[in-house]
Amino acid sequence: MEYLGDENNMSHKILKVKGGDPVESCNAMLKELLKSKKIHALLVAQETPTKKISFPVLISDPEKLNADIFAPILPVATASIVSKMTKFEAAKKPIGVVMRPCQIRAFAELVKLNQANPENIIIIGVDCLGTFPVNTYADFPENKSPTKYLIDTFAKKTDDADKYLRSACRVCKDPTPTNADIVVGIYGMDAKKELLIESHTEAGKKLIEGLKLDASKEHDREKAVKSIHEHKTKNHAAFVKEKSSIKGIDALATFYDKCINCHNCMKACPICYCKECLFDSSVFDAEAYKFLRKADSKGLFKMPTDSLLFHLGRMNHMILSCVECGLCEQACPNEIPLMEVLINVADNAQKEFEYNPGKDPKEKIPMIVYRENEFTEVGEK
């Protein structure tokens, strides 16, 4: 059973899109929200002065707001940013945070890991149409803004934009937000005319009550979401099946061949939160004689050492919480398609523990709980 918030606080409204520009209409809505003082600040993607890239900004001055909530780019993990702001103490004033579905899931995991505090964080979830790699976004080839291009292709119901998407987005399991206070719905809507604004919690309901929104009428979102879930699940399963051929030490050594031990994948990952990662420590530095001993036993070995150990070790530490946002892959300087292995491993491991990261905030992380009579085949003959 999917957690979809509290029925009593469900309220569906319609945001009329002016001039066929949903980005500007949403910006106007957020401006109104910020002006209402019901939230003190907003964390939302906004174009930088170079006009090339959109970055999350924490903004409290409504006059300076020029948000692009549909900007198809995820330069950094939004969940990690909220973790930075709230891990020491809860926010004292309400902050609205616009996040993609994968980042909302990652945020839920960080809360479970005691790395973020959800108090006073109001999550505004946006239906995700996918994101482009940072450089594709910055130098977008089609003669229009990437956001506009993506929304146009969505309105035309074509999959032209697929070729630009990050591979993680192409095989995303769930592009609709769960556990958000407010949802901005685009699936099933005519994005150039209207968007769905839905509250799922009491805090969300209070916020949208004051906004100039129309009452909801008949719309196809529910049906569209159902069909998109079906399509995405199938797509994901096919990808997992295709990549399950990466098996065995030879295949893995080939797969991680280009790894230079920079650990960017770990730094970009919203789930990897350790302040001092074992793999960044000097545990793997040693006296020369220890390296020589290893050289003697293997004849030769690649330097720096332990790059496969890093990837396998990282998997063991974070895979159950992996939300498949693909930021690891985006961060890799040598463009190793890390998700091809990770998705497959995540899928199997999460199935083993019947755990769905980010879905249910109340469910505990599998590695901190146990039952007495489980997995009894381990440890017995």
């Binding site: 399950s244 991680y256 293997k298 497959n344 440890g379």
Partner: protein, 148 residues
């Protein structure tokens, strides 16, 4: 002397790294020793305070550096000196084996067994069984892999 060496060459002697918990399995190994029960010398024992303190990375490091098998010994479920360390170890081992299965990397080289301080005989027998099982599997192919 020469004969002995040749004999060694034809019979593959697996290298096994054993992580034994201080309170049960290590004491069990001790008992096997003081009771003069013979068991294969293939296992290199590392004493840890609890099977729950064995991170998957330790096991992976042993395997990637060429160990033919890794043994993790803990107290019987319910008997952990730290109440639930072995339950947590069990989940961690399930995850590790699941990942290795997905990646086709011989999870059978990892053995987890619960051996109490009074089970010297069980420890010796487990070591015999494991050594023979790993011998049957042959050397760890990763031992020769240098580009990892």
């Amino acid at each position: 002397m020469k004969d002995h060496k040749e004999h060694k060459k034809e019979k593959f002697e697996p290298k096994i790294v054993g992580f034994l918990c201080n309170w049960c399995s290590y004491a069990g190994a001790d008992l096997a020793g003081t009771s003069r029960i013979q068991y294969p010398a293939n296992v290199r024992i590392i004493r840890v305070m609890c099977s729950g303190s064995v991170d998957s990375v330790y096991i992976l490091r042993a395997l990637l550096d060429g160990a033919d098998g890794v043994f993790v010994g803990g107290c019987h479920p319910g008997d952990c000196h730290y109440i639930d360390g072995n339950y947590k170890a069990r989940r961690r081992m399930v995850l590790l084996k699941n990942i290795l299965t997905t990646l086709g990397m011989e999870p059978e080289r990892i053995w987890v067994r619960w051996i109490s301080a009074s089970e010297g005989q069980k420890f010796a027998e487990t070591m015999k069984d494991m050594t023979e099982a790993i011998r049957k599997m042959g050397p760890n192919p990763i031992a020769k892999q240098w580009n990892i």
